[in-house]
Symmetry: C3
Amino acid sequence: MNKDAAAESIYGDVESIRELGPLVHNITNYVVMNTTANALLALGASPVMAHAVEEVEEMVGLAGAAGGALVINIGTLSSEWIECMRMAMSEARSLSVPVIFDPVGAGATRFRTETSKSLIAEIPPTVIRGNGSEIMALVDGSVKTMGVDSSRTSDSAEGCARALAESVNCVVSVSGAVDIITDGKTVLRVENGDPLMAKVTGLGCTATAVIGAFASVNRNFVAATYHAMAVLGICGEIAAGSSQGPGSLQMKLYDALYNLNDEEIEAHLK
Amino acid sequence: MNKDAAAESIYGDVESIRELGPLVHNITNYVVMNTTANALLALGASPVMAHAVEEVEEMVGLAGAAGGALVINIGTLSSEWIECMRMAMSEARSLSVPVIFDPVGAGATRFRTETSKSLIAEIPPTVIRGNGSEIMALVDGSVKTMGVDSSRTSDSAEGCARALAESVNCVVSVSGAVDIITDGKTVLRVENGDPLMAKVTGLGCTATAVIGAFASVNRNFVAATYHAMAVLGICGEIAAGSSQGPGSLQMKLYDALYNLNDEEIEAHLK
Amino acid sequence: MNKDAAAESIYGDVESIRELGPLVHNITNYVVMNTTANALLALGASPVMAHAVEEVEEMVGLAGAAGGALVINIGTLSSEWIECMRMAMSEARSLSVPVIFDPVGAGATRFRTETSKSLIAEIPPTVIRGNGSEIMALVDGSVKTMGVDSSRTSDSAEGCARALAESVNCVVSVSGAVDIITDGKTVLRVENGDPLMAKVTGLGCTATAVIGAFASVNRNFVAATYHAMAVLGICGEIAAGSSQGPGSLQMKLYDALYNLNDEEIEAHLK
C-alpha cells in the first residue's frame, strides 16, 4: 500500500471514531487514568474507567453494545485488580469485544511478568502493546535467546513480537524509535514520533488506549493498530514541533489529536 | 434578579472563597483527583483528598471547623470505598457540613445506580450534580416515564431534577448545554459553557467540586450551585476562546478560574 | 560556599541526573502520581510507581541496582498501603537505597500523624520533606512548644526541623516561603520559588520526588536536598515568569525542568 492510500485509510478510521464515539472501557493504572481519558476524548472516543468486580462485566457489555473495546493496563497492579481484569477480559472475549493489553513493567518484576503471562495465556487478547523489554519478557526463553543473538535490537524486538503474536494468535505492537506491528506474518512499521514523547509519562499507555479506539472501528486489527500508532506518532510530531518541552508537548498532543486532518496525516506519514 | 445583580452576587461568592479558602474534602475518583484539586486551588479553595475509614470522619470534622464542604464522587467506585463514603456523609450531616454528591455513571451499571440510590436515601446530600442520564437513573420509574413522555429532553431532565430534589429534599443540578439547578420549586438555568469542555475528561466532576467551594461560603444552596455552574461555564468560555483544542482549554481553565474578575462575569453571564 | 560555586554544584547534579537517569521508585498518592512522574522525567530521572506487596521489595532492588531512590508519600493513605510502604522502606534501608519520606497531612488527622511517626521510628528515612505543620506534627511535645515559643514562625519551623533531624538522624526539609534544609547541625535555606506555585496541587509532593532524583546522584544528602529544592524553586520562578495562572505554570514547570541550564541557575539562585 502506498503512502497516500495508507494516509487515507488512517483518516477513514479517525473519521469513524469521531462519528461513532466508541465506548472504550479502561482498566488501567492510576498514573495515566486522566491522560488516557483525555487522549481518547480528544480523538473522538468515549472513555470510561471502571474496575469493580461488581460492574466490570456489565461495563464490558456496554462497550460491546456500543461497538467499543476493552483496554487492560497493569501499570500500578495490585492483587485485587487481577481478578477484575480477568473477569473483564473473559467477558470481552465471550462478547467479541476487542481487548488491548499493555504489560507495563513486565520483565521488571516477577509479579508483573507472571501476571501478564498468565492473563494472556488464559484469555488471549486481541492486541498486546508494550516496549521491547516488556514484549521480550512475555516470550519464552528459547525465542528470546534467538532474538538476543540477533545483531540488531530491532531484529530482536521483531523476532519476539512475531513469536508472541504467533503463539497467542493476536496482534503485537512493540513501541520504540520505530514501532513494529505484527500478527506473526505481516510486519508493519511506524517511523513517526518524536524523542521528546519519552519525557511525558504514559504515552505508551496512551498508545494502548488509542489502539482501543481504532480497534473499535476497524476489525482488521493489524491495520487498526498500525493506524493508531501512526496517529499518535504524527500527533506527537505535530505537538513537539511547537513545544518548548514535555509540558507543552503533552498539552499540544491533545490539541493535535482533536484537530488532526487528512492533510496532516499525508504530510507527516513516513 | 437581573443579570447585573446576579453577576455581583456570583462575584461576591468568588471573593469569599478567595478570602476564606474553605477546606473542601473530596472522596472522588482516581481520574479527576488531580484536576479537581487544581480547579479548587485555582478558585481559591483548599482541597484535601482522604478516603481511609480511619480518618474520613476526622477530616470531615476539619472541613466543618473550617467552614468547608464534603464532595462525594463515585467515578471509579469499588466496594471498599462505599463504607468510607457512608461514614463521611453521615459525619458531615451530623455536623451540618454541606455534602455535594456526584453519581458518575449511575444508569450505566446497576452497581453505580444502586450505590447512588442507597447512599442518597440513607444520608440525603445537600446537592446532587450529574448529567441528564445520571439524574434520571436516580428517579423512580413513574416520574422517569413521565419525563420521557415530554416532548423535549430539557423538559425531561427538568422534570426528573425537580422530582429528585423534592423527594430527597436537596438541590439538584443537571449539566448539559443548559445547566438546570432546582430545589424542586425554583428552577434556575445556566447557559454558559462551551462544547469543547465535553472533550476534557472530568469537567463534570470539576463542577461538582466547585459547587463544594461555593456551598462553603453561601448557605443558600440553590444560589451557591447556580453560582458555581455559572463560574465554571464562564471560565470554560474564556478558556475556550483562546484554545486550540481540549489540551489548551484544560490549562487555560485553571488560569481563568484564578484570574476571574467581576467584569468577566458581567460580560459573559447569559 | 558562594553563589557561583553553589550554582555550579547544583548544575553538576542536574547533569548527573540527565546522564544517569536514576530509577526513582515512588509509592505515592493518587493525586500526584502523574505530575510527579512527569517532573522526574522532565528532569532526566526514570520514575516508576509500584505499590503491590508482591513486588515492592523487588522494585526497590531494581532502584538500588540502578543507583536510584525510594520516595514514600502518604497523601492518600489507606491501611492496605502502609504494609507495602513498610516493606519498601525496610528493603531500601537494607540495600542503602536513599528513602525520601513525605508526611502529607501529618498533624491534620491522627491516622496520618501516627502512621508517619511509626514508619519513621521503625525505619528512619534518609530525608523527610514537609511543610511546617507536617514537620511540627512529627516532633514530640516539648520541642514543639519550645518552637512555638519562638518569636518567628521560621524560627519555630527551624527548631522543629533540627530537632526532628537530630532525633531521626536524617535530613529534614521544611517547605515554605523560605525552604529550610538541615541535618540537625548545618542549616541551609532556599529563597527561590513563587507564590503561584501554591496554587498548583502537589508541588510539595513534586519537591519530595525531585529530592529522590538528586539523592540518587549525590550521597551528601544535605547538599542533594538543597539542590533539589533550589532547582524546583528556580524552575517555578522561570515558569511563573511567563504564566497567566496556575494552569500555565504547571505546564511550563515541566518545560523549565527539561531545559534548565547553568546560566539560569546562576541568574536565579538567591
